[in-house]
Amino acid sequence: MTTTLWSWTTSLLQVVIVGVGSLILIGFMAKVKARAEGRVGSPVTQPLRDVRKLLRKERLHAHHSSLVLPFAPMIITATAVVAVWISPLVGTHPVMVSGADIFVIVYLLLTGSVAAALAGLDAATAFGGMGSSRAMTIGALAEPALLVGVIALAIQSGSSNLAVIVASTLHNSDHAFGPVHLFALGALVIVVIAETGRIPVDNPATHLELTMVHEAMILEYAGPELALVTLGEAMRLGLLFSLVANLFFPWGVATSSSAAALALGVAALVAKLLVLALVVALIEVRSAKLRLFRLPELLAGAFALSVLAIVMGLVTR
């Protein structure tokens, strides 16, 4: 019984941290970019306030939209919550961790982006179609690099289950600095930036509809649905960041089910997320948004890196 009690607490902790924490993470990244420009910038908890205010506003649906428009935000958030629920973020034994396979997490996130793309098309506007077409294209180009990159890690640790990968990297930590992990880290950082729509790939704070990729899909949402979409997207970002953090720097993840280990796990996860957010924010400040048709170069580079990671794995076995 105790193990299930601990695994339930681990999972609940993970959902709470990544749920609330990722909104604060986005606020923190905005704050870093503001301070880099010399501005005070909005407070770190601003996204939380925005979501709270949006919950009290009215819901608007376009004339030609069907049931897809109200249901898509729920699917995005639900798949993100389940993905966070079962993956090894705070500890390596959350509930149903046996199901935390790479394929499950990648395709849960794919379900979320498919729901967002269908919602974009449902409102029958030009911007919605444009946004979903670009988002699906970038998703299709980023998928090979993501899957091959994580499989490079899976080969080294013998199984495609995330918890086993984290545990085995934790066990022989010389792997963590081996070339396989370095190249896979390079590939996955590029893919995470592409999936969460950060600067070099897509500018979340743009007002120009024609340059939007992700924002164009949610132009039609108002009030509570927009709050849900923002929460869902933030959780996806939080999940991807913490997966990158835990797969490549697994120190601090709770392996035993004791209160101290869980506390350490939480602290380690928060620290790693903040460092990774700082790095990504500085990348955003230093670089401009790439033209849409210069993106295949970036993503093909990530794919080449992941193949390099696999071959390095074979060579240095």
């Binding site: 608007l60 069907s66 030009a126 179609g129 998928e143 499989i151 039609e220 048709f293």
Partner: protein
């Protein structure tokens, strides 16, 4: 065994009823007989799969020389079950679909002959019986493609391509089988398998290559796939559903039967070639699926894509089997068989839905569809289920089969022999790329085809199709959900089929309740628990939404940046949706765009009209088949000069031939 023969009898009776009965009762009676024959075949094959007692029966009177041997071992039973499942749905669909030429005497009876042939091919166990069933299948589908040529302009050329390529494939299969049969004591596959040991390595490779060409063209492998995107859209929908779900799988059945059954695995490089063929088809098929505009052509290319993945799984299984890893080989083969069954279900359902959409709106072009979610709600739900399954979204059949395939590929890496590693690497890359591109294709189908505003008069006035058609598509959607949620139930029968194919002992239990637990590899998924979690969170969100938000949602005009009126033409179309990907992969797809500018009469500087048209031809067809055809035509021209009608010239030919023979013999 009795059930199966009864099913064949009912099938024959249905075909006879199609010919004899008058127009009024014909469709109902023959379809009833056909559906019952499929049901009986399903019962026979499931019984065979579950209790696993293989039987063989030899019927001499049917074919003049050698008679027909029918035998049902687990592998053949799996393919019969798959065909019966899709056949049942197709017969039910035919009830609602049949009108005009398809309900004519020949339309109904040939359709039943086609279903009958599909049921017999996996069970045929001697060379003559197999070839007879194979030809019956090819010819009946050819007639069916032509059955609706009055309304479909391109049906004739599609039938021509289809006939040419299937007959060429059949010839190479006949040669291959005769080569194998040359050293065998008798005609039956069992005797062939025994006799194959005496063949030299070169002969076995030649036999495998010949049969591979025939079966790969039937399975839609890339260089030989050109007939598939032409023939499937032109056939009536129940026929294209059957063709795409079960006829295509006969190619994979042939490769397994000849490669593993008769030639006992052969050498490693056969299976590396099969895997390479599979990867090429997977990537090429999914690329063309994303950029296709016609609904059924998109589905046909997606069939090539999934068949490519299945061939990769089969190739990986062969490689692992030859490098001595029996356990992983069975896993890889089980994965490809599960993907085959799952694909038959969701592809059949999607083709039937495409037929309903074509019947309701009058067009298959995605650029002219849209807004069907309001007028055809049930069909939209069915297409969403089918699309979600083919995109491998979690807890549906596509997901569990692709996950199993990935596990099989992953554990080929553990073994260090180079060809195994290369096949696994190619397979993983193909799986990743087709996953992404497949998602784009089917978001396009659902998003552009069914959501948004209607883009044409036909789509605007669409009305829901008849009960039978929706019921049939629903019947096929059920296995997509069941196989996805509870693969554990099916996996034992699959492992028995895989073991029968590979000639390996019984498998270690892989099912854990409804999920999959791979004992010797530490990876498992429990799709049912995953779905329960997602549904629970969705219910929680719905409850919170109801509680928090008091006001009902207000209907307003969509936000178009302040534009006054919002016309349907302002929406994205299927072409513009796939345009970024087409531009990224333009050197593979080679789109031909031509722009005609008609200048004003007065001066060249003012244009009256600019017409832009873009067409994505099939690169393989344009680059390799067209030159081949023009070469053959030129040869034909040359030969025509020989026939100038003078008798002396013809006698001279005979004489020269005689001289050559004499010189050669001396």
């Amino acid at each position: 065994m009795v059930w199966y023969l009864l099913a064949l009898a009912f099938g024959a009776a249905a075909a006879l009823a199609g010919v004899v009965l008058p127009r009024h009762g014909r469709v109902a009676v023959s379809m009833a007989l056909g559906a019952s024959s499929c049901a009986l075949a399903l019962v026979a094959s499931v019984q065979e799969l579950v209790c696993g007692v293989a039987w063989t029966v030899h019927v001499t009177q049917l074919l003049p020389f050698s008679g027909v041997t029918l035998s049902l071992d687990p592998l053949a039973a799996l393919f019969v079950a798959l065909t019966a499942m899709v056949g049942l749905a197709a017969c039910v669909y035919f009830l609602g679909y049949a009108h005009g030429p398809t309900a004519s005497r020949s339309g109904v009876s040939v359709f039943m002959l086609f279903v009958l042939a599909l049921l017999v091919v996996p069970a045929a166990a001697n060379v003559m019986g197999f070839l007879f069933a194979w030809e019956l299948m090819a010819l009946s589908s050819l007639v069916l493609i032509l059955s609706e040529q009055a309304t479909r302009p391109r049906a004739r050329s599609a039938a021509l391509w289809y006939a040419a390529m299937t007959q060429a494939g059949a010839v190479s299969i006949v040669l291959g089988l005769l080569l194998v049969a040359s050293s065998a004591p008798g005609q039956d596959f069992a005797q062939l398998a025994a006799g194959a040991a005496h063949l030299s390595a070169a002969q076995r490779s030649l036999a495998f290559a010949l049969t591979l060409v025939g079966f790969a063209s039937k399975a839609g492998a890339v260089p030989l796939h050109v007939w598939l995107p032409k023939a499937h859209p032109e056939a009536p929908s129940p026929v294209s559903a059957l063709m795409s779900s079960s006829m295509v799988t006969m190619g994979v059945y042939g490769i397994l039967r000849v490669g593993e059954g008769l030639l006992h695995g052969g050498n490693l490089w056969w299976w590396v070639a099969v895997a390479a063929l599979g990867v090429l088809s997977a990537v090429y098929g999914s690329l063309h699926a994303t950029t296709a505009r016609d609904f059924k052509r998109l589905l046909a290319y997606s069939t090539i894509d999934v068949m490519g993945l299945v061939l990769t799984g089969v190739g990986a299984a062969g490689v692992l089997y030859d490098t001595g890893q029996r356990e992983d080989a069975r896993l890889a083969l089980m994965a490809s068989l599960l993907l085959l069954v799952a694909h038959a279900a969701f592809k059949g359902s999607l083709f039937l839905v495409a037929g309903s959409v074509e019947r309701a709106t009058g067009t298959r072009n995605l650029d002219r569809l849209g807004g069907l979610v309001h007028t055809m709600p049930t069909t939209t739900c069915l297409v969403v289920i089918g699309a979600a399954a083919i995109m491998a979204l979690p807890t549906l059949s596509g997901f569990s089969s692709e996950w199993l395939l990935l596990q099989g590929l992953l554990h080929g890496f553990a073994d260090s022999s180079t060809p195994a590693v290369i096949v696994m690497l190619l397979g993983v890359v193909a799986l990743a790329l087709t996953g992404g591109l497949g998602a784009v294709a089917f978001v396009k189908v659902v998003g552009i085809g069914f959501l948004g505003q209607a883009r044409s008069e036909g789509a605007a006035t669409a009305v829901e199709v008849s009960r039978w058609m929706r019921l049939a598509a629903g019947l096929l959607a059920v296995p997509s959900v069941v196989l996805g949620l509870a693969p554990g139930l099916v996996v034992n029968t699959l492992s028995r089929a895989a073991s029968a194919a590979l000639g390996v002992g019984a498998a270690s239990p892989v099912a854990r309740g409804t999920g999959l637990l791979l004992s010797h590899l530490s990876g498992d998924i429990a799709p049912l628990e995953l779905l329960v979690a997602v549904v629970a969170v969705l219910a929680a969100l719905l409850g919170a939404n109801r509680a928090l938000v008091q006001r009902r949602a207000r209907r307003v005009a969509a936000w178009g940046c302040g534009r006054e009126e919002q016309t349907p033409r302002m929406q994205y179309t299927a072409t513009s949706f796939a345009e970024p990907l087409q531009r990224v992969f333009s050197d593979v797809l080679r789109p031909q765009t031509d722009v005609e500018v008609t200048h004003a009469v007065e001066s060249r500087y003012f244009q009256e009209s600019v017409t832009y048209s873009q067409h994505i031809a099939d690169v393989v067809e344009v680059r390799s088949y067209r030159p081949l055809i023009s070469l053959v035509m030129r040869l034909g021209e040359g030969a025509r000069r020989l026939h100038n009608g003078s008798i002396h010239r013809y006698l001279a030919f005979g004489f020269v031939a005689l001289l050559v023979v004499v010189v050669v013999l001396s």
